[in-house]
Symmetry: C3
């Protein structure tokens, strides 16, 4: 496989993981097959869709429907195979694949904004994050679940760190964009994987402080 | 009336039904007139608006404000006339009109995507569904209600069936697009109407299976 | 300061108020710093972003990142200074600044739609309102809070009144657009300020009527 194939394959694995974890997350809500597929598609391609609408460019899946097909197939498999899928080791695998997905998509999203010179230097950070977590947030809103913005899990923070590091590094080494993208996505994934493995939480100084006695 | 007039009239009746059922659905939440009108507009034109933003074309109501006027007027009437409107027979009428609305809009939305050669063959299915149920889902999210994705009612499934049937049939009989659109919308409506009348639910094999003992 | 500077300064103050009130509103939910910043940005620029996506024009903050920087900085300050910020007098100040923000943004949003001849005459009203309250509604949805559409507070109604008055007045005095914009925004703010000060609610005839005995 050449580089492009690897990226494409990883992107598809991330899409599988997005759809599967989405379906498993809503199954306790007594969803039907249709709803499950919608949740799978929304989670898998929702972030990139919002990014493209903000960028004012055609949505990415319109020119490559594999993203949709893979999301639909994964959702169906997850729906009917949920007993298997929610077994601890399979679910853990999905969490790590989801980690690969968000780590890749945050860099990909930033790259797309960079290519269009969109709102530099903040635009690529925002759109990278929207690409990676926009689908998951939309899924939580549609399912009536607490969005990941209100959870203490170390989920969005490694992404923010990784994408900012990437954007700084490519300023310093502009001829190494591809290598740096791979490195930063890998690093981001490893931080996220560590967070999954050791159940790491957001550091205390980033959590809400107790409110003082003078507050109303 | 010629064909176009009939379609336009049905579209407006669907808009009335979308707005009225939206307002009746949020009235138990103690909404005020402003909120009711917003809910009515969002439900009536929200799906088509999301579709047009994904397609990257001007939103449909910008060139025909009748959709907005009808939604506003229907919302006001539903708000002040809710005692009448929520009488069983009037509400049932609205449910059937809503059925006409979703059946027509799913075909219309698919047609718009087809005309633009958008992401064939999946794009028209997705955008048809978004046109038909996107407004209702947005309403549920804004009202804090469980979205229709999490209900067992036979609502989105007949739409999916109807729009896929339509897209297959026009491949086979490409010169009969108009007739087939009417037929498939009618069939879709009748399935939905049967679901309303006999309170049909999603078939069992499309519901969540019980989770096995090995699941975590 | 010339006029433009004043408008720009007021816009930035409104942005500060949007971000700060957003963060204070979600702090009881145990949000972390990342989530707080996202909420601050979404609330501050979300409404204008939705407006621009509906208009089909580039999002406004892409060409002036100060809106994003100010939202981020305000969110961080509000997050760590929440004991101070939620003291009654500071919080009241933020409510009034928020009032300045929505009063200005409703007129600004309407102006942008007017400049593009978008869906006259209803388009400017709708897009003005979306600009002013779209961010706040998105924040409530993401935070799992009841949206302002379901509250009896006099919040959106003064905006609707102000923007419709503005659109009528500039028909009558088309050469006084700037003056009328300032006047209507000021009037809108004063009504909102009165609502904050005297805790005014939506008038009774705009509230849901009791449902009759015949209702189902």
């Amino acid at each position: 496989m050449n580089n492009l194939d690897i990226y494409y394959t990883l992107g598809m694995l991330g899409t599988v993981a997005f759809a599967v974890t989405a379906v498993l997350a809503v199954i306790p809500k007594q969803i039907d097959l249709f709803g499950a597929i919608v949740m799978g598609i929304v989670t898998a391609v929702g972030g990139g869709t919002i990014r493209d609408m903000i960028l004012g460019v055609p949505v990415f899946w319109a020119s490559d429907l594999n993203y949709i097909w893979v999301a639909i197939a994964s959702s169906i498999v997850a729906f009917y195979g949920n007993q298997l899928m929610s077994r601890k080791n399979i679910y853990a695998l999905m969490l790590y694949l989801d980690g690969i997905g968000i780590a890749m998509f945050v860099i990909q999203g930033a790259d797309k904004a960079l290519d269009l010179d969109f709102a530099l230097p903040v635009g690529p950070v925002l759109l990278g994050l929207i690409t990676a977590i926009g689908g998951g947030i939309t899924r939580d809103v549609l399912a009536g679940n607490t969005t990941l913005l209100l959870k203490k899990e170390l989920y969005a923070l490694p992404l923010t760190f990784g994408v900012i590091l990437y954007l700084i590094m490519i300023q310093v080494f502009p001829e190494k964009v591809k290598l740096l993208g791979t490195l930063c996505a890998t690093l981001t994934f490893f931080i996220r994987a560590a967070a999954i493995h050791w159940k790491l939480h957001v550091p205390k100084w980033m959590l809400t402080q107790k409110r003082g006695i003078f507050s109303n």
